[in-house]
Structure formats: structure tokens, C-alpha cells
Symmetry: C2
Subunit: 234 residues, 2 copies
């Protein structure tokens, strides 16, 4: 596939997963167009990280599209009145952003169609994740089906492939894979509530998964945390 | 369904179709939350029309979400370097906006989930339309399937229904239906390139379909056009 249509649109959040997905796509020979969606996250450290990663990995182009999801709310990530949980919770947590991956894939699909790219890469995974429904393989399959029906490219007989290289990897395996590819995880920001200097809280779901991932991978965690803390694996 | 979950999110563009879909949803007893997507259209007359319609039809709430599709381009509606055609063309025209309805339905889905609404209304139709792939019934079905898999509400066993009351109506039938419901089409703007005063060009695809629709419906067209012109049905 890469020799036929080497262009890919990559959703790049600035976090550990999407940076690894980008490193993998580059390694697989794709010409990478990175798309970051500024949806009104709680902090701008993640967007700054996306810009650093896009530059370091020498993407063909990096675009940031602003969507004001604050108008819709309903998540701790888009509504400052909802607190980010600092303890694990049962079920789908309040950091779930309603329809976020549908929206981000829709934007990626639009750009892919303009670029005549047939591949969209997204760093979702179903093992060490927060239980978000729009990270599951059945969601990805349904979006591929939709993409074919939604677009002029689809009507003309083209199919879009949603590239999910992390789907069945643990967080430790993701970190090991990226490290082998030379990715500097010090550039990435996973924390849901990083401060203005990009320091991570060390307490939120995203920090917990990241900390445990580095421990399990046996790789030193380059993340700078606001507070020193003792971390144990679950 | 209306007695059980009367909330609906309605995509309201400011055009003839979505205004009619809103009038129908109100008539069917839904409590209507109107969502307008400001995606960087060529003109702001459509957005002003959406505000007028939302107010006149007394929706429960009207929100406008801005998404900068100019970053993605690829359409005469989002890239001022691509001219709006003033003659009919074969195939899918350059006014097609890549993945637009997927994006708009994703935003509506997010808001519907926050509101605990199970119905999303969109004024697509497959008869008198411009051939856009994301107006077809198979696209709508695929989005319903996706919505169930994409959301926390779906995981909890809820289904979303995409309400498409205009799907199989001709433009004339749409206009007759809205007129019976007391809708004032003078509030709506269909033109792709209306001027700052909301005057329609009378030449673009959207204007042509609208003009022919009023003629076929036998209802006087309240639209104000930039130029006087003689119109004949096809």
C-alpha cells in the first residue's frame, strides 16, 4: 500500500500514543501530514508538544484546526467546571469527550480527501486506556465504512484505511516500540491538566497510565512532574 | 418516541431545507436544540439567517460552533480561490465540502449526548440536491451505526436516530410542507455566494434548485435576488 499511496493524515495530539503512531507511520514509509485539533483543551501544553513533535519528526505539513467544543461541554477536558479525577473510577470517566474521535476523524477524512490520501492514522488502543468507546476496534471499522459512503473519493471507488498501529499494544509495548524508533518521549505531554510550563500532575488517568507504562517497559520516564511521588504498578 | 425522549438536536444552516426540517421536528413535538456550524462559509448571510430562524421558531437553545475548515479547503465553499459554478455541471460539483456532513453530525452527536437527546435532525434529501455523497440514505444509516459505537450513551445501550424528514421529498414538496407549517422562507438563505445584504445570486446550484422548487410548488418565491432573471423549469 505504501508504494501506491504513500500519503497519510495523522491525528497528532501531542501525547505519547499519537507521537508513537506518527513515528511508526514514518518508519513504514508514509509521507505524513499531521493534523492537530485544538478543541479547547484545558491547557495549551499539549498543542505546543504537537508542534515540537511535528517538527522533530519532519512531517510534510502540520495543520492545527480549531473547533470550539467548549460550546458543547460535557467533559472534564472541555468544561472547567468539571474536575479532572485524580483517582481511578469505575466505568467511562468524566474525561470522556462526547464524540471526540468521530469529530477528529471527520476532520482528518476531509483533509485526506483533499490530499488524495487513503490512509488516516490514529493512536487509539484498547488495552491500557481509559475505557473511551471511540477507541475500540468496532468503532474504527464503523468509521472506515462511513468514510467510504461519506466522500466523493468513496463514490469514485476508493476506500480509506484507518491505520491503528497501537490498537492491541500495551502502554509498555507502545513505549518500547517508540523508543526503538528513536522517539524522545520528553517531547510529549499526556497529562490532562499540565501546567503552563508543561509539567504533568502525576495523578490523572493519563499520567497514571503513562507512569505505569514506563515502569513496565523498564525505560526511564523523561516526564517532568509537578510533584515528586512514589508510584506503584497496579 | 417523542413522548419518551422529546429532545432533538437539529443542524440548522440557515437554508431552506434545514429550516423546514426544524419546522417539522417542532410540529412533531420535539424540544429542539439548534446547532449551527460556522465552518468558514463564503458569507455570513447564512449564519444570520440561522439566528433569525432559531428565534422565530422559538428553539429551546441555539448554539453556533466555529470550525475552521479553511485550514482544510478543497471546496468552493471554504476556499475563495475556487469559484462557485454558475452553470450546472456533471458529477459531484466543487461546492462539495469534504466530509462536511460527517463533521456536522459528529458535533450534533456530541451535543446530543450531553443533552441526553436520542434524536438528531438533518435536512438532507436525495432528489433535488447537488449529488453530495453525504446526503444519501446509506450514509445516514452508516452514521447511525457509528453513533452507537462511538459514544458512552451507545455503550449504555442507547441508540441515536438520525431524523431525515426531507430525505425523499422533492424541493417543491419541501416548500409545500414548510408553507403548510407557516414557515416564512423569506428568512432563509440558500445561495452559496449571497452578498452582505443577504441577496442571492440566482445563478448557483443552490439558487437554481430553490427557484425551480418554488415554481414547481406553485408558491411565490420570497427570495431577494441581486439581479432580475427569467427562470424556466428544467
Amino acid at each position: 500500500m505504501t508504494t501506491k499511496t504513500p500519503y497519510a493524515v495523522l491525528l497528532l495530539s501531542g501525547g505519547l500514543d499519537s507521537a508513537t503512531a506518527l513515528a511508526i507511520a514514518k518508519d513504514e514509509g508514509f509521507i505524513c501530514h499531521a493534523l492537530t485539533v485544538d478543541y479547547g483543551q484545558r491547557h495549551c501544553a499539549e498543542l505546543a508538544a504537537a508542534q515540537r513533535i511535528a517538527q522533530a519528526l519532519e512531517v510534510a505539513e502540520h495543520r492545527i484546526v480549531r473547533v470550539d467544543l467548549g460550546q458543547i461541554g460535557g467533559s472534564a477536558l472541555t468544561d472547567n467546571n468539571i474536575k479532572v479525577p485524580e483517582q481511578p473510577s469505575a466505568g467511562i470517566p468524566v474525561t470522556y469527550v462526547p464524540a471526540r474521535n468521530t469529530l477528529m476523524l471527520a476532520l482528518a477524512l476531509g483533509w485526506a480527501e483533499v490530499l488524495q490520501a487513503k490512509v488516516i492514522s490514529i493512536g487509539v488502543n484498547v488495552l491500557d486506556y481509559s475505557g473511551y468507546p471511540d477507541c475500540r476496534p468496532e468503532f474504527i471499522k464503523a468509521f472506515e465504512n462511513l468514510a467510504m459512503l461519506a466522500t466523493k473519493a468513496g463514490v469514485e471507488g476508493n476506500k480509506f484505511h484507518i491505520h491503528t498501529p497501537l490498537l492491541y499494544l500495551t502502554k509498555a509495548e507502545i513505549i518500547q516500540r517508540g523508543t526503538r524508533l528513536g522517539l524522545d518521549y520528553g517531547m510529549t505531554v499526556s497529562c490532562y491538566q499540565a501546567d503552563d510550563n508543561g509539567l504533568a500532575c502525576g495523578c490523572c488517568d493519563a499520567c497514571r497510565l503513562r507512569i505505569q507504562g514506563f515502569l513496565a517497559a523498564g525505560i526511564q520516564d523523561p516526564t517532568k512532574y509537578v510533584i515528586s511521588r512514589t508510584v506503584t504498578t497496579q
